[in-house]
């Protein structure tokens, strides 16, 4: 069989999360041999640009598309166009369920948020006030996570502070600044839950913030439960700079995306929804993840 070109389209190329998905794709493509993984997307999170790039990829005649959907309705339109052009399409990380895509590979974001909330309950069952930090205000998967957290904590002793979530627009420096702002605005806040790993992507900025309230953090008076499990986050957790992490598996998403697309080109049927699962990491099991 001739070589196949599968394109992986992230929401934004400036987000380190998608780098892991890319690495997974490329690694699996190499293993498969006859598959090339093309990773391309808009530099910043913006729906129309993503749609245009997908159109270009259709023109280019790629053999399969894996898309992390930036805007559901917008992506639905182009996905259907790609399918009409005979290109198998799957979504990953972020879904467009009503489109003609063949499968979704990734996290159940609602469940992901619920897991964050449950982890917080586990870390600090007696409750208090909490604030969240989100990324782009328009990202549907982040909105689902925020909802998930709220759902898990509904009926518990936890209440959300006003002004939450703050939107960091995926800007790491801004996310750390917002940690400080949340704590300053609500000096008695009992937990901060970033629904993406942004502030911890700046390890020293994070440490700097935590060091200001180290005693509170150590005594869990201030609980820190964060999304994502990138290596630097695991390191921080193992050093006691956070209480728990809930991670997606972007690397696996990339791998599974390649497998699924290959299966589709061979004419096989695939599962409609393929969850890659979540990892819940706390001080107890962090060593396993750090390896």
């Amino acid at each position: 069989q001739d070589s196949l070109v599968f394109a992986v389209v992230p929401k934004a190329m400036n987000n380190p999360f998608f780098d892991l998905a890319r690495d997974g794709c490329e690694a699996r493509a190499k293993e498969l041999g006859n598959v090339t993984c093309t990773y391309i997307g808009p530099v910043e999170h913006e729906a129309a640009t993503q749609a245009q790039i997908i159109e270009d990829l259709i023109t280019q005649g790629v053999d399969g598309l894996a898309i992390s959907v930036s805007d559901i309705a917008a992506a639905t339109t182009v996905i259907n166009r790609a399918v009409e052009a005979g290109i198998p399409v799957i979504t990953f990380d972020s879904d467009a369920p009503d489109s003609q895509r063949s499968a979704y590979v990734g996290t159940d974001n609602k469940q992901f948020g619920t897991a964050l909330g449950e982890l917080l309950l586990q870390v600090k069952p007696d409750g208090g006030t909490y604030g969240m930090i989100s990324g782009g205000a328009a990202a549907p998967n982040l909105a689902l996570r925020v909802d998930g957290v709220r759902e898990a904590l509904a009926g518990s002793a936890w209440t959300e502070v006003p002004g939450s979530p703050t939107f960091s627009n995926d800007d790491i420096a801004l996310a750390v600044q917002q940690m400080g702002d949340l704590k300053t605005a609500n000096p008695d806040i009992d937990a901060i839950v970033p629904v993406g790993g942004w502030p911890m992507f700046a390890p020293d900025g994070w440490k700097n913030f935590v060091d200001g309230f180290k005693a509170d953090v150590d005594s869990k008076a201030l609980a820190l439960v964060v999304a994502d499990t990138l290596p630097q986050q695991l390191q921080l957790l193992s050093e006691g700079y956070a209480h728990g992490l809930v991670g997606q598996r972007p690397y696996e998403m990339g791998q599974v995306a390649m497998d699924t697309l290959l299966a589709l080109t061979k004419g096989e049927t695939v599962e409609d929804i393929i969850y890659t699962g979540v990892d819940v990491v706390t001080a107890e099991n962090v060593a396993d993840f750090l390896k």
């Binding site: 910043e44 129309a48 280019q60 805007d71 339109t77 328009a138």
Partner: protein, 344 residues
């Protein structure tokens, strides 16, 4: 304009050669030359580049920003700037979607297309209002155009998020098909309708700029605002009109994009303002004011889109694409140096 009536009898003045005047002596013409070279190179790099499908894609894509670029070119000719175009595109599209949705659920029935017309009026009305506020602050309160429109950039984007709670909207209701037809349709199944709108707008703008007193005043304001004022030009009114037109163009453009996407996400057209201004400037508009035109604006948009599309099709490493886009943009304006050299 007729040259010879009055140069007769000037012993030291030759006839102006055809390449020394009009379009051929403008930056636009030289950038057009660069564009043609780039098109040739791209078509050599990728066999798919000059296919009918891709040409139609390119046409549609540049039409998306080109109408807004026409609007901002007007503003730039008056020596101003408008950073709020991207946000205006988003809010205008959002309002149109919201109204369509609201009317779909309305208890009273409208004549067919009625909801669409109301929705379009609403979307464009908001865009015009943003332009009006910009223009008022700049012309009457004499605020810096940069700061004012940076403020509106933020205000309008914020309102877009507020209006939909960040979720974005999509056009719905009985008129949805009609909406898609008039925004994302293709004439004779080939020519994107957005391109037709662009051509109509461009011709209207060209007529207004070169053959009406209003256009003359636009250039006069950009060239020497106080001279315009002293000779009785109603500078404030023209400026407000120009910002309103720019807002309208951006809003119209936003609505068209949302039709093509079938959605009006709240982050629509984020950071488009720099691309749009760049397209205008590459096409020959001068940020110092007094220079610019419709043809140049379109050439600038085509250039930017051809580079973007061409590099994707040529399968250039995406990390290098951004670098190359920058290089080609600088190279394209560099050809304009040839002109200054030739004209001494």
């Amino acid at each position: 304009m007729m040259a010879n009536i009055d140069t007769q009898g000037f012993s030291n003045v030759r006839r102006t050669r055809f390449w020394q005047k009009g379009f051929l002596a403008s930056q636009s013409a030289y950038v057009l030359g660069a564009l043609i070279v780039i098109i040739v190179v791209m078509s050599l790099l990728s066999p798919n580049f000059l296919t009918a499908g891709n040409i139609s894609n390119i046409t549609r894509n540049f039409s998306f920003i080109a109408i807004a670029t026409l609007g901002i070119t007007l503003v730039i000719i008056t020596g101003g700037i408008d950073l709020s175009v991207g946000s205006t595109m988003a809010l205008s599209a959002t309002v149109t979607s919201l109204i369509m949705g609201a009317l779909a659920g309305a208890s009273f029935a409208l004549f067919p297309g009625g909801a669409l017309i109301l929705a379009l009026l609403g979307g464009l009305g908001v865009a015009a209002l943003i332009g009006l506020l910009n223009g008022f602050a700049i012309a009457k309160l004499k605020l810096s155009a940069f700061v004012t429109t940076l403020g509106t950039l933020s205000i309008v984007r914020g309102l877009t998020y507020v209006a939909t709670y960040g979720r974005g909207t999509f056009p719905a209701g009985p008129d949805k098909d009609l909406f898609l037809l008039v925004t994302a349709g293709k004439l004779f199944n080939v020519v994107p309708i957005a391109f037709i709108y662009l051509i109509i707008c461009a011709i209207a703008m060209w007529l207004a700029l070169t053959h009406t007193a209003w256009g003359r005043h636009v250039f006069a304001i950009g060239s020497n605002e106080s001279a315009g004022r002293l000779t009785g030009v109603n500078v404030d009114r023209v400026k407000i009109q120009v910002y309103m037109l720019c807002g309208l163009a951006a809003g119209f453009n936003g609505i068209i994009i949302s039709g093509w996407l079938g959605s009006a996400p709240a982050n629509l057209a984020t950071a488009y303002e720099l691309t749009i201004i760049a397209a205008a400037v590459i096409g020959g508009a001068n940020l110092a004011g007094g220079v610019g035109g419709a043809a140049g604006a379109i050439i600038g948009c085509v250039l930017i889109e051809v580079i973007r599309n061409g590099l994707v099709l040529a399968r250039v490493d995406p990390y290098w694409q951004q670098t190359l886009v920058g290089c080609i943009i600088v190279a394209a304006v560099l050809v304009d140096r040839l002109r200054s050299m030739r004209n001494g």
